[in-house]
Amino acid sequence: MVEISTKLIAQRIAESIDKISCEVEDSCYKALSHALDIEDNKTTKFALSVMKDNFDIAIKEHRPVCQDTGMVVVFLEVGNEVFLTGETLQKAIDKEVEKAYTYLRKSVLDPITRVNTKTNTPAVIHLKQVEGKDVKVQVMLKGFGSENMSKMYMLNPAQGLEEAKRLIVQTVKDAASNPCPPVIVGVGLGGTFEKAAEMSKHALFRKIGSSNERKDLDDLEKELLTKINDLGIGAQGFGGKTSALGLFIEAYPTHISSLPVAVNILCHCSRAAEFVIKGE
């Protein structure tokens, strides 16, 4: 067994938050630049140029890219030879998130009373055990203009993949201008209700331009991305060539009675990072 403290994990997450709130994930930056290069619509091209200038200013001057500095979502893959020491992950991570949100907007509140927690906590933490001695951490600051446009469908087998495809495209169409397009789309296919939703979020950590390990899913990603871009939503919904920068699918075996489909939408600025803490 190797020991890794939850405090160390939390501190590394806090360092990530400070960095990614004021930057944009590299593949996302490149994809947005490409969208700007190929756009013909005058208004949309202007919007894209403002979006790119905004990235540049945020990075150069270390300012939050977007005022919605999101809710903190963490995916942890903990090796089965790792013994986590110290406080619980939730406690340790929340303490460091609170410290990290000094100049970042605190957007988290009680769902019933709507009273702000004033700390941007709690974070949403997903924990998975894997083989090995390391802890892999993925952090995302998830904005809710896009989160609000996400959808969940429980299809029956007779509706099948064709209906799933139609609904994925329809979800992006209905979201239209709201989630700050061009969007990034995460799709969870299969599993249970909550498993599909979790996969759709996790899929958003994929780099734009990367291929799905499963050939059939890779083909499906390309087909859906083309269909979404054919919608012509364009940047900010002003109409144009690029409605989505990427679409990523995760799948999991499901029940004979069902086909869960979750569609999680992310805006044009992905604020995400991943790192590994090595167990010695």
């Binding site: 300012r63 977007c66 919605d68 605190k106 203009g145 201008s177 002003f238």
Partner: protein, 175 residues
């Protein structure tokens, strides 16, 4: 793109010259509030004790990041406007001049913009750092306890936006 420079408070005669897709640079004072601010304003109106006046004003739907030391405000891009749709027709009918946010609006809102000769401007969603730079002063007017959702008065200079719904009832967002 050639930008049209407009001063705030908005002059309704000037608004008639604007068309969907026009790029505009706004300069002057505006009000800032979003979901919780609207909810509370409407509660105050229902209780016959209106918390603040919005006649002739332009509202920017935004909740900023905290200001760093020596700065007036933090990142300050627009939030999704459709969440304010239920409040909008009443406010336009009772004197509000304009709104700034991002994303499409309901037909009821479009009709109200046309009926009252008002304009809805789209700011560029996600461009928080750019908009921060156009804000020259900011102060909380009321509802301080709402934190990022408090009612603010800001002064902007050359605030970039696009005419998204014009006084003719045209919208930039196509179905």
């Amino acid at each position: 793109m050639d930008a049209i420079k407009l001063n705030l408070p908005l002059d309704k005669n000037e608004l008639k010259k604007l068309h969907v897709g026009d790029m505009v640079l706004l300069t002057g004072p505006m009000l800032v509030f979003r979901d919780a601010g609207h909810k509370r304003l409407f509660e105050s109106i229902q209780n016959n004790n209106q918390a603040f006046e919005y006649k002739g004003e332009t509202i920017y739907f935004m909740g900023p990041c905290p200001a760093k030391e020596g700065e007036v405000i933090g990142s300050a891009g627009p939030t999704t406007s459709c969440r304010m749709d239920k409040y909008t027709p009443f406010m336009l009918d009772t004197g509000l001049a304009g709104q700034i946010g991002k994303g499409k609006r309901s037909q009821d809102c479009i009709d109200a913009f046309k009926r009252n000769g008002c304009v809805y401007f789209a700011a560029i969603g996600g461009a928080g750092a750019i908009y921060q730079k156009s804000i020259k002063s900011a102060k909380v007017l009321t509802f301080d306890d709402l934190g990022p959702e408090a009612i603010r008065r800001i002064e902007v200079q050359d605030f970039p936006c696009i005419v998204a719904i014009d006084t003719f009832g045209e919208s930039i967002y196509k179905e």
